[in-house]
Amino acid sequence: MATTLELRNVSKSYDKFVAVDNLSFAIEKGSVFGLLGPNGAGKTSSLRMMIGITMPDTGQVMVFGENFRREHLQRIGYLPEERGLYKKMKLIDQVIFLAQLKGVSEPEARSRAMKWFDRLQLTAWINKKTEELSKGMQQKVQFIAGILHDPEFLILDEPFSGLDPANADELKNILIEQRKAGKTILFSTHRMDQVEKLCDSICLIDHGRAVLQGELREVKSRFGRNHVQIEYEGDGDFLQTAPAVQSFHNFGNYTEVELKPGADAQELLKAVTARARVNRFEIAEPSLEKIFIDTVNNKQQNEKVQHA
């Protein structure tokens, strides 16, 4: 299998701060890859090295099977986390300009832009300036700007942030289409539900180091089917101290518990039904969210859960 991107022992420091520490991973052509990690873990620093904004101090960045060269940039699309558009420029001029920088001719860029604007219901806005748009619309324009040159490799930093469910779904469909067309997609996000829906492989980084990586299915099976997701009405606090429970996370709508080794899920079910009305009781692999939190073992867990 050809790899679209490979980081080999990449490190990057700013003064004394180590942003990326000996990071290695590979992304197969035609796959969707999730780069996960808490805030400040080094995600953006890693992404910047993939598109040549910064150079690694040590290690290699291989793109399309070769050492990174600036010529590769014409085949890469980049959607930064923060919206980056000219405030006072017309949308159509803006995306054409950015596509031209990627080597697309003006007429070609214009005709492609019209199709994308149409698809994302922005046709009425093409002559408006960015500052007149809502955040969600800006995000869509940003996405168009990133994809207009039809890149083989899409790097998306938090692509779903700021999108309403309908638009998020549309974006998800586009990503699936792109993948079917053989494009490689890397996205970095906190939205674990999107990762679970879309990603083939993941890499979880913390403090600049990879702490967990591999195929999504394989990663999850590593954690075993010893998790139970419970939806209930009533007081569930007792779960924290129930004898079968190893660890406990309340995700709001549902609670996920990790069973102690050898504990019987049926016993737990009985205990729960005795105290609360159960709507769902499912034995499953741990959710990615749970894995994320356990792995990062961050003190600010609860805050993260609310963000997710």
């Binding site: 980049y78 930064p80 923060e82 000219y86 420029m89 001029d93 950015l98 920088l101 990133g146």
Partner: protein
Amino acid sequence: MRNTWLVIRREYLERVRSKGFIISTILLPAFVFGITVLPSKLMMMKSGGSFHMVVVASSAPVADAVKEQLESPDSDRKYRVDEKITDNSQDRQELDASVKAKQIDGYLWLTNQAIADNKAEFVALSTSDFGQNENVRTAANKGVTRVRLMQHGIAAGDVDTLVKPVNIETLSLAGKKSGGEVARFFACFLVAMMIYISLIMYGMSVMRSVLDEKTSRVMEVLLASIKPKELMAGKLFGVGAVGLTQVAIWAIFMAYLGIGAAASPQIRELFSGQPLLFIFLPVFFVLGFMLYSSMYAALGATVNSEQEAQQWQWFVTMPLIVPIILVSKVIATPDSGLSVWLSMVPFFAPILMYVRVVASTPPWWQIGLSIALMLVTTYFIVLVASRIYRVGILMYGKRPTLPEIVKWLKYA
């Protein structure tokens, strides 16, 4: 190259199409004209109406002579002169009162006693009109001289011949620049101000545009396609081209003033037959622009907000203000040693050397040397600025300290 060209095109088209460009193209010369030429014009042509004054003398011949001088048609102002023959200093109170009551605009106290005591006085409501004061002084002197000469038995006709002043016309060496001193001064000042304001305006425009790309994070998107060096070059050339367009419009406008009938004869004389003036305007603008705007670009890259930029832009603006402070000195003595050396300083040259070209005829080697020095300096400034720029555009948060910026220069 292609990328730089695309950036240049974007910067140029986005700016030239904006309303701000059209407005500033028209308003800036109007504004500069307003603050330089207009006040002097206004002073010269005092409200159109005639100036009503009283000449107080001990004898009729003196009063007559002064009245005749003031009312002569050669004068640039109109006077209506009443005579009052008296020696009595009590009458002054009466006159003061009528000035206060605005029955008269002023009076000249020129009694024999006053002349003898060297205490002739001109009293008026407003005495800040230099032209006015000068007129009255000249008239009084001429009048008194005339009477004295006649008292010595010289015939009236001979007196006119004797006191006729010599008219001196000022010509610079090349013999091409004649015309009123005042008009020349203001024309020089006008072009100096125009270069100064456009350098600041376009320099800050570069700074703001860098800052804008940084804060709006377009930078991040751009850098995924283009090198910082290409981006900065594109910006400088793009904004510079806009400035050049504007300056060219002004140069054409000035050339029109030179040949057209729109301007006063003095200004026309000054601007006409001087192709150098129009050629050097864009030359010095471009040189000054490259020098200053690369510094502004570096500044824009190191700060995080408009407010922060304002705190630090004096650092770049300072060397531009110095020549504006010195410009009147250079206009007055364009070929003095001081002027020559000041115009060689690369940071001052865009304004001061250009002013010298307009005001005088500096030797070619001086013009060439100042341009060469500017080019060399600009080269180094651009080198340093592009390094600061390259690192600065990716730095968010805390503003870097000077030692940190120096460290950036060493980054590969």
